[in-house]
Symmetry: C2
Subunit: 204 residues, 2 copies
DNA sequence: ACGGTGATGTCACGAACTGACATCACGGCT
DNA sequence: AGCCGTGATGTCAGTTCGTGACATCACCGT
């Protein structure tokens, strides 16, 4: 028979989630998590680089974004981003309850918010890289990626706090539409319509 | 005569900067900083909430942004933001050398990058609040603030890595112009086609 | 049966913070 | 002048995070 109960990592994750929810992140020690998962503290650190990382297992998202960006039809950068984010939406929508719970924990703790921002920043890098692969110049790619994730933040926030009114995908679309209205409105919009496809426009 | 040398905080700040630059953030202990500043470790923590915070004394920036946003002429949101960021630019330009040095330290350490993102997020809140005060609805304000800071990130990055080609203010203006091109341009199809995303069907 | 491997345990430790209490120049008040 | 409150600092003890080094031992392939 096996020397240890299987899936130590899973048990740790579950224990951590429960405790963070129950007593709050700060009041939870790694020792407690380990004890509840019936492993040692050391084992916790073998599975997660730190106490926060348990909540941020989401590399799936980066993969979806990168893939969707790479395979999207030739479109203006913002359309590509809408496409990619829309593809990614189900990752959240499929486990809305868990996501909300997780978000509540994060909302209650500044350290966790920092980590979340870091994760989002890494998504920006991923997106920007994927856009560069599509031929965008580096500044445009960086800017488009930043704006995309910025819009996602707002859309996600609205989705979390606006239970079931709309899907996340709808919020994303609405938010990016709002972005267009925000940035376009006063100016005449058609000036740059020289028929070119995705923007090779340079940042003058 | 006085019991202690004056300006403990200033000495701590100086000592920390030097050590972070010299041996790196990780390799520097608070004990070392305190020793060099000729105070105790405890005193360090009385002046700075943690080891990172020494590098993020920048509440001046938030004040400038909030004030400039509040007093800007009535304009489209994005114009207000351009105005505010432009007002804030001198905060950096006036001490470009120090800013570059600081940025190098931050670039070398993920923990510091996390903190920086947190500070920027707090600027987003400040900006959004100021925009709401101007009468924008909460979602538009949040979105405009996110986009403004996103553009600022890109502009700042270009400024740091593009020594003296342009001023930060120029970069900001260029970047926000690029934002307009990114979001507005040439998407004549979008006006009538609010429906399906092209290419959606064959993206796994 | 044998030896290598990988997941876990054990131990020891440094370094980041924190709470509680002590000290004592300074500045104001009487 | 003398007393007193205050604020900045020191001292100390303790908790928790996170890591390196080494030990254990079921499992798996040969």
């Amino acid at each position: 028979m096996s020397r240890w109960k299987p899936d130590a990592r899973g048990r740790l994750e579950k224990a951590a989630l429960e405790l963070y929810n129950d007593k709050g992140f700060d009041a939870t020690t790694v020792a407690e998590i380990a004890a509840r998962a019936e492993v040692t503290e050391r084992t916790f650190y073998r599975h997660f680089v730190d106490k926060r990382e348990v909540l941020f297992q989401t590399n799936a998202l980066a993969d979806v974004l990168a893939h969707a960006t790479a395979t999207a039809a030739p479109l203006a950068p913002l359309e590509v981003i809408i496409h990619a984010l829309t593809e990614a939406a189900p990752v959240f929508e499929e486990r809305a309850e868990l996501v909300r719970q997780r978000q509540a924990v994060i909302a209650a703790n500044p350290e966790l918010q920092e980590r979340e921002l870091a994760k989002l920043a890494s998504l920006v890098s991923t997106l920007a890289h994927a856009l560069r692969e599509r031929g965008l110049d580096s500044t445009t790619a960086a800017l488009a990626a930043e704006i995309g994730i910025a819009a996602f933040k707002v859309a996600f926030d609205r989705w979390i706090n606006d239970p079931d009114q709309h899907t996340l995908a709808q919020h994303i679309r609405e938010t990016l539409d709002a972005t267009r209205h925000l940035t376009a409105p006063a100016e005449h919009a058609a000036a740059t319509d020289d028929g070119s496809l995705p923007g090779q426009e340079n940042v003058a």
